[in-house]
Symmetry: C2
Subunit: 152 residues, 2 copies
DNA sequence: GAGTTTTTTGCAACAGTATTGCATTATAAA
DNA sequence: TTTATAATGCAATACTGTTGCAAAAAACTC
């Protein structure tokens, strides 16, 4: 559905350029959060600098949000419908797979509630990162084990 | 106490070089987590590459641990006594000040407990990042407000 | 649809971050 | 003190992220 991305761009008052449509569709179709390199690899023709600016534009508009995953490389994922310009509502945990490196949104796991004042510090935000082995990698591990067992 | 760092190096079977003593003392004396640039700025003579390798060595030995703070720049802080080679015990939250950029360990705030299996994913670790305004920045803000009020 | 205005894009240049190989130097062991 | 071992600093390289500017594309006006 190419019209999906066009609708989002229109709703946010953004001009419907090829780059924006392509990048936004990639986010819509992607099951996991994407780094700049991921997007760059998907569209070899698009300039890196344009991608940086596109991501910033989308983030400001509440179309995508940053997913902090403990790596030093920011990842981005499509926002929930309730997000808008300068007011993100994506207050959920992110899962980072140590096996394949993929990061996914855990919309059903809210970030923990923390007292506003803690040890004399004003806490404005709490971010939860989960890491371990993702569904897909688990399946691969299991089938590898069963192969090993068969060979023995 | 310069002997403090020497003792730690000896206990971990590391040769007592000038770089290691200096960097380790900096960590011991520092109230907050340090980035590579912070350390580089403290000792202009020491080569960046040596610092990268020193940090990696210390981390592997359980002398320092990485403090994930949501920025894209890893920070490091001295470990709790219980940490050892390849077995870190620093399971606490980190606070990142949005005003001054400093990151501190919150040893008294444990990372949240999360079920090992969540949504079909195996969770091995949970990391909590808190962000807001630190003690020191709060004091500055308050005094700035009182000055403004006096001028009115 | 053609022409005009405005915005977006891609390139150049640059600063910062991170890694590896290797010769030199410092430390530890003999 | 001499020898063996390990750490350091430099060169080279790759990757990440930012800004200014001219060309191209999109939006707007008629
Ligand atoms: Mn998310
Ligand atoms: Mn810590
Ligand atoms: Zn995985
Ligand atoms: Zn602060």
């Amino acid at each position: 559905m190419a019209s999906n991305s066009i609708k989002i761009l229109e709703e946010n008052g953004l001009s419907k350029t090829e780059v924006r449509k392509k990048v936004l569709n990639l986010f819509i179709d992607s099951a996991c959060a994407l780094s700049l390199s991921d997007i760059e690899a998907a569209f070899s023709k698009i300039d890196r600098i344009t991608l940086y600016r596109t991501l910033k534009t989308f983030e400001n508009k509440g179309i995508i949000h940053k997913a902090v995953d403990g790596t030093n490389h920011p990842k981005y994922a499509i926002c929930e419908a309730s997000c808008s310009e300068h007011k993100h509502e994506d207050d959920h945990a992110h899962f980072h797979c140590l096996s394949c490196g993929k990061t996914v949104c855990f919309e059903h796991v809210p970030n923990p509630a923390i007292p506003e004042l803690l040890n004399g510090y004003v806490v404005e935000e709490a971010t939860l990162i989960l890491s371990g082995t993702c569904k897909e990698c688990l399946v691969q591990k299991k089938s590898r084990i069963s192969i090993t067992e068969t060979l023995e």
